[in-house]
Structure formats: structure tokens, C-alpha cells
Amino acid sequence: MFKELDPLLHSELRLAVMSILLSVAEADFVYIRETTKATAGNLSVQIDKLSEAGYVEVERGFLGKRTRTVCKITPKGVEAFNNYVEALKGYLNIN
């Protein structure tokens, strides 16, 4: 029996964001946008969805005179990501 893949993570951009955040303590919006090559508007919407689900934490602040949005993965996000990878392994017969 295959485990269901988390629909929130089973989307290209949201999965990319979560994969980046899993490797670091925090990443800013510009870095994520450049790495994913997404548009700012679309990325903002997807990050909001992850934030509403409690998978990421978003902090808005300043770096000098510029505004800076910093994202961090939450423990709930890490758990969801691990579950997603476990489910993927099942589909791909990797164990």
C-alpha cells in the first residue's frame, strides 16, 4: 500500500523551497528566488501557503535600508518533508 504524498509538498516550487530550507538554518527570499528561478509573486504565494501550514516560519526585517524576508523550516516542516521522502521511496521502490 502506497502512502499518500503530501499535496502541499508535491508541487515543484514548494518542494524546491522546502529542499533549500532543509539544508540551512535560514535563507532569505532573494536567495530562494534566484535558486528556484521563480517569479517573486509566485514564490511569495507559495511561501505563504507553506507558512499557513506551519511548515516554514517567515520573518520580515531590515538589512541596512533594504527590507529582508527570511525563511526557516519548522520542526513540523521537517517532519512533513521526512514523511514525503519516505512516501516517495515507497513509490520508487527504494528502501
Binding site: L5, S11, A16, I20, V24, A25, T35, K37
Partner: protein, 194 residues
């Protein structure tokens, strides 16, 4: 990249690619803080030593406070220039280590300057060398590990020599502890990016 569903194989490839991209960016080490604090400490030490030797006026010891006054703004400026958009867990740990050491160093220095007669140069070297060794162990960089531990031993030089000469020992230890490994770390990074 858009909001589109993926098949399982594409998902796995995407995860691998994103983690790999980020890891490549993380491999850039940074010797700049070592160079900033190393050179600042050496220049200020020599300035204090020279003024004390010429004037024998104890008040010149106030110049020691130039170290944080010069070091902090330069480091913050350089850090802002080097902003990569990501912070690793290791960078956070290193920051906490140096925050604790910095606060301890400042408090002990204030005590030594205004209240008690304690061997402050010896204590500061032990503190900084401990931070250096811990940083080296965290980033797994041998020259910094070695310089940290060697400097802990060399700190006794500040107890062995008289006050004026202990300032020169202090400058020499900072050269060995921060300037040399800082340059080695930067050189290694430049080589990796060629």
C-alpha cells in the same frame, strides 16, 4: 519554476538538485573575521605599547577599547558585503560561541581596567584562543585548530614577561592565532574557486 505537480522521479531529482546547489554555496569558508580582529588587535597593541613606553602614563591603556570600536564596524560592513542570503547551523553556533567569548572578554576587561589588578592580557588570549580552537573544530580546519591550541599555551608568555613586553607577546600571539590562519583560510577558498 512554477507551481506544477511532479511525478515521483522528478520530485526526487528536484530535492537532490536543490540540496546540491545550496551545499555548493555553503562551502565558501571565511577568514575575514580572523583578519579583522587579528590585525586590529595587533595595531592597537603596538600603539598602546609605544605610548606606554614613551609616556609611562597608565591612561593610554584606554586605547585598548579601540579594538572593539574598530573591529565591530569593519566586521559588520564586510559581512554585509559578503551576504549570501543563507545562514547555516554551523555559522549560528560559531556566532553564539564568539558572542559568549566577546561578552566575557569585555566584562573581564572592564574589571581589569577599573577595579582589580588581574593579568588581563593572559585572560584575553586564553578566551580568544579557546574560541579559535572551537571554531577550528566546528569548521574542521586544521590551521585554526592548531593555532587555537598553540595560543592557549603561548598565553603564559603574558605572565612570564613584564607588563610592557607582555603587550608585544599579546600582539605576536594574535598574529599566530588569527592573522596566519585567516590568510590560509582565504587562500584555500580562492584556490577552490579558480
Amino acid at each position: 519554476m512554477e507551481e506544477k505537480p511532479l511525478n515521483e522521479k522528478e520530485s526526487l531529482e528536484l530535492i537532490t538538485r536543490m540540496i546540491k546547489n545550496t551545499h555548493q554555496k555553503l562551502e565558501e569558508g571565511n577568514g575575514i573575521p580572523f583578519l579583522v580582529w587579528g590585525y586590529t588587535s595587533i595595531i592597537v597593541s603596538i600603539l598602546v605599547w609605544y605610548q606606554l613606553k614613551i609616556t609611562q602614563d597608565y591612561l593610554w591603556n584606554l586605547l585598548w577599547f579601540l579594538i572593539p570600536l574598530i573591529g565591530f564596524p569593519i566586521q559588520m560592513l564586510l559581512q554585509r558585503k559578503r551576504e549570501r542570503g543563507i545562514k547555516t547551523y554551523l555559522e549560528k553556533i560559531i556566532k553564539y560561541v564568539w558572542t559568549v567569548i566577546g561578552v566575557a572578554g569585555f566584562v573581564v576587561s572592564m574589571g581589569a581596567m577599573f577595579y582589580w589588578k588581574i593579568p588581563i592580557l593572559f585572560i584575553i588570549i586564553v578566551l580568544m584562543a579557546t574560541g579559535t580552537a572551537i571554531t577550528g573544530l566546528i569548521i574542521q580546519f586544521k590551521p585554526i585548530i592548531i593555532s587555537g591550541f598553540v595560543s592557549i599555551l603561548l598565553s603564559f608568555g603574558c605572565l612570564i614577561f613584564s607588563h610592557l613586553y607582555s603587550i608585544l607577546v599579546f600582539a605576536l600571539v594574535f598574529f599566530l592565532m588569527m592573522v596566519i590562519p585567516g590568510h590560509i583560510l582565504n587562500f584555500k577558498n580562492r584556490k577552490r574557486h579558480v
